[in-house]
């Protein structure tokens, strides 16, 4: 019997536009076909976020634009432009 499983792709983009360039990336594969881990790839899966849409990924989260906290306007921390995508794939259960 076939069942759906979720694949999750996280792209860290150059700015808040979905079609800006990929700077970092993370993949989790709920189908169990692939096992991704830290430092396993030097090439991004897509050049920009829009290319992921064109390849069938669905955006499930846009990063919110939140003004810097007062006093921390010049501090850097996490990647700000984190876009989360999913694909649902059928597996044989």
């Amino acid at each position: 019997m076939s069942q759906q499983r979720q694949k999750v792709l996280v792209l860290y983009l150059a700015n808040s536009a979905l079609d800006s360039n990929v700077k970092g990336w993370t993949l989790y594969d709920g189908t169990g076909q692939e096992a991704h881990t830290t430092g396993d790839s030097d090439r991004p899966p897509y050049a920009n976020g829009l290319d992921a849409l064109l390849d069938g990924w669905r955006v499930i989260q846009f990063p919110q634009l939140i003004p810097p906290y007062p006093g921390l306007e010049y501090a850097t921390s996490f990647q700000m432009n984190e876009f989360i995508f999913e694909k649902l794939e059928m597996i044989d259960g």
Partner: protein, 288 residues
């Protein structure tokens, strides 16, 4: 006493300020590498208590002590944290053969926002081919305010550097740099020795500053790559990393400028006019 010829140059120091690490390939001779590996196989290296003066650690005979007392390595240490820093801790990191996954991305210790910085030396006593992993570092991540494994969801960054190297290679790292142990896909154990050192003096012009003035210069024209082509301090600190976001990448250059000012005492130093512009707050009033 460290010989001036063994100290870092201004260009190397700027590289450290910009990228958060320096790499020294095949620095340690093979007899020491072999002796260190033998010591690892015998069961490890005894550590001193945290806060012990570094000069009192690893009394002879000690292969790790022999490595750390090499003039070139003493010069690196002196340039970054000054004379006789404190021993913080050491670790012999082992990545097991054919392990299932890599270590998560992280910064060591806890969030640490000081301008003063500790260093960590990572020493690779045997060859590390790509399939063996190597420690992965994210250049230019050292000023990001994060706490340890909070960044573990980040798997890959454009421009990340896996430490693929020959035996005897060394990394000198700012305490804040993002890194992880990559997956070891071979059937052999991978070893890496790490030591953390704390400065006991103000980190002020500790490297060979003979060329500091000639490497610094005045304000340049901004946004002109051609004008900034010479590999001076402004150029080195102005180079972005491939993983930087558009806006955040500019703030990273500001972080570097602040660190360079801290290290040199030159409060007028700038890159691309980023800070000078913000510091311009005239109070002079025109006569009515």
């Amino acid at each position: 006493m460290v010989d001036k010829k063994d100290l870092l140059t201004t260009a190397q120091m700027a590289e450290f300020v910009a990228r958060g690490f320096l790499r020294f390939d095949e620095l340690v001779p093979d007899d020491i590498n072999q002796a260190v590996m033998a010591a690892f196989d015998k069961g490890g290296i005894e550590a001193a208590p945290a806060g012990t003066p570094f000069s009192q650690c690893y009394p002879e005979p000690s292969p790790i002590g022999a490595m750390l007392r090499m003039p070139a390595i003493q010069g690196i240490i002196h340039s970054l944290v000054g004379p006789d820093p404190l021993f913080d801790h050491h670790a012999i990191h082992v990545r097991q053969p054919n392990e299932g996954k890599a270590q998560g991305m992280h910064g060591d210790s806890i969030i640490d926002t000081r301008m003063h910085f500790d260093i960590q030396l990572m020493y690779f006593p045997h060859d590390v081919p790509l399939e063996m992993g190597g420690t992965l570092v994210v250049p230019g991540s050292q000023y990001r305010r994060i706490n340890e494994m909070d960044i573990a969801r980040y798997q890959n960054f454009a421009g990340q550097v896996p430490m693929v190297c020959k035996a005897g290679s060394l990394l000198a790292l700012h305490h804040g740099i993002w890194h992880c142990g990559r997956q070891n896909k071979t059937d052999r154990k991978r070893y890496m020795y790490k030591i953390r050192l704390n400065p006991v003096v103000r980190q002020y012009r500790l490297w060979n500053t003979d060329d500091l003035e000639s490497m610094t210069g005045g304000q340049k024209r901004i946004f002109t790559q051609e004008q900034n082509a010479a590999a001076d301090v402004q150029t080195i600190l102005g180079r972005g990393e491939p993983w930087y976001e558009d806006g955040g990448g500019r703030l990273e250059i500001v972080n570097r400028v602040k660190m360079w000012r801290f290290l040199t005492g030159d409060d007028r130093f700038d890159v691309h006019y980023w800070l000078t512009r913000l510091e311009n707050m005239p109070e002079r009033r025109l006569a009515a």
